[in-house]
Amino acid sequence: MSGQTLYDKLWSQHLVKQRDDGTALIYIDRHLLHEVTSPQAFEGLRLAGRKPWRLDANLATPDHNVPTTIKERAEGNAGIKDATSLIQVQTLDENCLSFGIEEFKINDPRQGIVHVVGPEQGATLPGMTVVCGDSHTATHGAFGALAHGIGTSEVEHVLATQCLLAQKMKNMQVRVEGELGTGVTAKDVVLAIIGKIGTAGGTGYAIEFAGDAIASLSMEGRMTVCNMAIEAGARVGLIAVDDTTIDYLAERPYAPRGDQWKAAVADWRHLVSDDGAAFDKEVTLKAEDIEPQVSWGTSPEMVTGISGQVPDPAAAFDETVQRSHARALEYMGLLANQKITDIKLDKVFIGSCTNSRIEDLREAAKVARGKKVAGSIMLAMVVPGSGLVKRQAEAEGLDRIFIEAGFEWREPGCSMCLAMNADKLGAGEHCASTSNRNFESRQGYGGRTHLVSPAMAAAAAIAGHFVDVRGIDSAAANDPALVKEA
């Protein structure tokens, strides 16, 4: 008998009932909630006179609408100036209170972007099914958990039944073999994967990321990769459990202790694809071929290496691609064959559930240390993914490095990733962004997003245009005087 994939194992461990029509009832271990997609679900529960099935499976935090400026945040919910945003956050508070769901409120030090908070607390554990009314729930797959986004009616379904009606996906494996070059990060890996397979390449699949280059990533890096599985079309991204996973989870607040920890670890060791497990689709990339990536268009697949150039739409093979490239160049205000390093920037955003964890901030700070943001940059901001990331960064002096270089140091939240709060791009502005979507107007009406890694974003902030972070002079970084001062 051929072996099982990691996805197959997770699926069968949670299968409550297989129905004749091909759908199945899947048990949900962890349900994360935020303010935007939950209000109507709670309302639905109330109208039907239902209660949450299992309170302890739920964990909530507001993230999309929260202001990130220090002053506004000091005022708590009152600092939310937009009335609709305020109501959404207050509604989450009220719902969590009245139903008895644990919530990290706006100024709880544990508050943050839901996909940063879950893992950080150990609320995401290997072998769990994790859902959230948010497509970037794929992030949690980095822990060998079966995790994906759901809609509002499904949020209600999970609250009421602890189950989801689902259909089994197909298996895909993306292997990244070899060793990543210096300055090449998880973000570059996932952008390169999306560039290769396209934004529909993973549709219908659960993608398992594997190979030495993936195994060598930290948990933060693995989360960055799985986070963007959805940009490759896959609702689920997965990475097998290994020592890195287990070391990360030890002693986290929601992780088990004592004998139970040992039993859990023994169980988690099985959360790998068996030798000889069959995948419906396999793709391999060579780590050595991946250079720091920059997206030039309005879809995450419109991406190239830093030494590359904006494509010439006329050169595209197929007419549909020609049209979409031409449309993207027009929107982005770029010219065919323009060098990526010639793209000038107006703003820089380091944050989002893709890249706002401590390691991301360290990488950006390493580049920014002792340097200054270019005068042509209107705004360069660093938004930590959670209150705990912020504290950690401050304890390491990263905030000082950023502030001295001319970055704004903000409070945690989704911020300019989708511009639901006050952080927005203006029309026509180019932004080096560590987020995950470069869709038209995603970061503000008419805004132009370029997806990059934190190190590349910091380097771009200093140069005022994209530069190869591998060529950045790091002498200042090693200057003991500067380090001490920081």
């Binding site: 048990y27 209000p39 769990m128 004592g258």
Partner: protein
């Protein structure tokens, strides 16, 4: 979802074809975080003479006296009689939410838009499709007869007019079942409650660390 019970409902006639979802509930009201409370803005553009916005106090708004739902004789209506292609336009679930919140339990028309059709049944509203001639006849009967009620008998798939005339209608067996039993997706899943509990108990024994009450924390 509530069980759909047989009802004798007051009928309000909306003599207009292609009533789209924007007409049912204009887009500015979609910002709400609720699934209830849309009733006051149902048919907002037709019902009021000013432009509505979310969160407004409706008490002082000028009503359009010509609009059918503003007429005293139709207060308390639970059956909406409508024309062809009712519910066309966007997929907003706010449209059935608004109808339901207003108090409509049944809409009768010659045809309905697809997405609206699904959404309405999901929210416990019965949509009855009748032939154009039958609809014409109902319109003619309703207008001169104040207090005109229809007996809506979903179980037997028929409407009975005040004069005792029986109008039969078709309805998909699964949808009918869900409506009569008050089952939504959640209701259906809860029919497997025992299977879920059995699974949960085993899961908890095998992997107690997945449950915070059985998780060892110290």
């Amino acid at each position: 979802m509530q069980k759909f019970e047989r009802l004798e409902g007051l009928v309000a006639p909306l003599d207009r074809a292609n009533v789209d979802t924007d007409l049912i509930i204009p887009k500015q009201f979609l910002k709400s975080i609720k699934r209830t409370g849309f009733g006051v803005n149902l048919f907002d553009d037709l019902r009021y003479l000013d432009e509505g916005y979310p969160g407004q106090d409706i008490a002082g708004r000028p009503l359009n006296p010509d609009f059918v739902l503003n007429q005293p004789r139709y207060q308390g209506a639970s059956v909406l009689l409508a024309r062809r292609n009712f519910g066309c336009g966007s997929s907003r679930e706010h449209a059935p939410w608004a109808l339901e919140d207003f108090g409509f339990k049944v809409v009768i028309a010659p045809s309905f838009a697809d997405i609206f059709y699904n959404n309405a049944f999901k929210n416990g509203i019965l949509l009855v499709t009748l032939a154009e001639e039958e609809i014409d006849r109902l319109f003619q009967e309703v207008e001169p007869n104040e207090g005109y009620r229809l007996d809506v008998d979903l179980d037997n798939q028929r409407l009975i007019t005040p004069s005792g005339e029986v109008l039969e209608f078709e309805v998909d067996a699964f949808r009918k079942h869900c409506l009569l039993e008050g089952l939504d997706d959640i209701g259906l899943t809860l029919k497997d409650e025992d299977a879920i509990r059995t699974f949960e108990a085993r899961h908890r024994t095998e992997r107690p660390w997945l449950f915070r009450e059985t998780m060892q924390v110290g």
